[in-house]
Homo-oligomer: 414 residues x 2
Amino acid sequence: MADPFTWQTLAGDVSAGPRAGRLTTPHGAVETPAFIPVGTRGTVRGVLPGALRAVGVQIVLANTYHLMLRPGADVVRDLGGLHAFMAWDGPILTDSGGYQVFSLADRRRVTDQGLVFRSHIDGAEVVLTPESAVAAQNALGADVVMALDICPPYPCPRPEVEEAVRRTLAWADRCRAAHTRRDQALWGIVQGGVEEDLRCRCAESLASMDLAGYAVGGVSVGEGHENLCRVLDWTVPLLPADRPRYLMGVGEPRDVVAAVARGVDLFDCVLPTRNGRSASAFTSGGMLRLRNERFKADARPIEPGCDCPACRGFFNTLSPGGREQSEGDQALGSRHSPSPRPSPIEGKGVMKQPFSRGAIRHFFQAGEMLGPILVSIHNLRFFTRLFGRLREAVREGRFRAEAQAVLDTYAASD
Amino acid sequence: MADPFTWQTLAGDVSAGPRAGRLTTPHGAVETPAFIPVGTRGTVRGVLPGALRAVGVQIVLANTYHLMLRPGADVVRDLGGLHAFMAWDGPILTDSGGYQVFSLADRRRVTDQGLVFRSHIDGAEVVLTPESAVAAQNALGADVVMALDICPPYPCPRPEVEEAVRRTLAWADRCRAAHTRRDQALWGIVQGGVEEDLRCRCAESLASMDLAGYAVGGVSVGEGHENLCRVLDWTVPLLPADRPRYLMGVGEPRDVVAAVARGVDLFDCVLPTRNGRSASAFTSGGMLRLRNERFKADARPIEPGCDCPACRGFFNTLSPGGREQSEGDQALGSRHSPSPRPSPIEGKGVMKQPFSRGAIRHFFQAGEMLGPILVSIHNLRFFTRLFGRLREAVREGRFRAEAQAVLDTYAASD
């Protein structure tokens, strides 16, 4: 059987410069550089899979920690696996749960064997070992699964970072041994804080394990932009050029541009949806805080010119039964129902009415779900557009200029 | 200028028996009997306009009371009116606010002049007269606007019902005088509690005002199914046969069937969305309480055979920019982006993965928005299918049999 996972560098610098590539998985391909929206508990909050597709999302992430506690990895498996659970037939990546244990769980203990902690939901004691993290991810069934790692805080005493690297490496090896599903790819995670020698040792040792992909973890913990760049400068050149590289938890446009410049292919971040839920909209002119009184009677869409459904309108192509009318539909009145009213601009079946900033502000003021939903959708589109710009620029050999254009926009708007 | 509002009876009994008709408005036609989902504060909670279209919704309702208090009718007007505000280009109906004043507002006083009350949002004193209710609805800009009425509780002393009818009639006349927009139709509301003579007097007097449509109000206040049927038996025969008839706040399938049998054309009700938000799903086999433990590992969709997006999958036809790829899209990577993975069943660009009951239960347990969103969408489709069945049956001259089939299902499942 051919390996269902392939990596191709399509353009750019194969080693440690900006590159465009294609990751193939059993559930389709991902064109990189790519953004991975976070679907923590099996859903990108408030955004239906059709809308994810509509805004150009290629791959989503779910959290093993959350799903193993509720509803349980075996329950997800029994429901058909994560693709069925999320109703998402594209590629999915699960993280191993290590990061969440450190950020969310109560009374955790770390031993060489694994992690022991109390569930933040019901206080139950849970043990997470490299083997059980892999077993849980095998049950969940994502395309890409991550090795269990230890993510030290920042700042962190060097001996603790040393121990984190030692365990992360030992655990990656145990994860590799435990991983059985050939239709899932196991990726390793580089730790090492901001210690150059530890980062390098971790990257080299993981590289020697011949894993299917590599992540840089232990960032976005307060270390700041400069340290992030240093970590990437040390780490990326030591990772195999013929494997995808994933920077965990990073999404600020400035960090993304710097990381793509250093050869990173994939990024996950809660920013578009978390900010969306708090009425903060990304635009090319800067962030809009849509609860602000000044938007009360603003009839413009979130970002004029944006092609997301919130800014351009929702299209009436989602008819029940899709393109094929089912017999049920016909029996239930479609034969006699009115033709959709032709829009003066667009023609039959198309609804092209955007939501105004004023309406979206109102939805937030009134506590209506549509506020978070619409701004999350818009922000996701903002991110997929940003990554589309970067991909295109790499392919056309003009990454530096495009990167500068992105940075200028953000510098001007902050 | 031709009247933009027309009513045609297409089949059935024009007087007071089941009939199928077509209401034409400036924003399209409504095939009746039809269900009107409630978008209280300018949104059907959690359901985007594309999804409303997808499940066959033809017309939506918004509440003048809520919108005049927040964000203000003038703000909605300045944002382009209610169609722009809701991003819904189909027909819209607004109620006058009278019912909400009685059910929600604090310290209300009723005089012949109008209603004085305290806003439930900020305690501000608000005056609502027939003239200001029409002005607010003119500003909101719905296709159909309702006369201000007084809705007595049930039970209610006869003198109070008498006074409510007297004021409702006087106010309807004042509303008619105040209403100016020719692109909006003003409908009257029959009150009179469960007093036959008062209901008849109210219906006859309103009929003599030659309004564009007629509602039966003052029901769904605890009077019960038998009283509802009696009210309709008294009232409907006195309403003009060539005008649409609307039963306010009624949606229980048993009540709907009884009302269609008595000549009612339109119904609004919060049931599909309110129940959807509390995890109660309508199915042809009865109500499913999806928080129940027994659904934890249930891999079936909410209702096997249902064609709603939750039960059949979300279709990838909502690409950014719709059918026409914009230049921006192309510049942003579409030329190079991967072909959507062909589904083994459906072909290019189609995602046909339903959500399982187990996944939906999990979303409710975890407090994720997708729970309310998915069950609301399903329930709305359940209602549009039910109404489609009734329309079809009337057109084919087999309403009695279909009505009995609907009732048998509900009797068996309750």
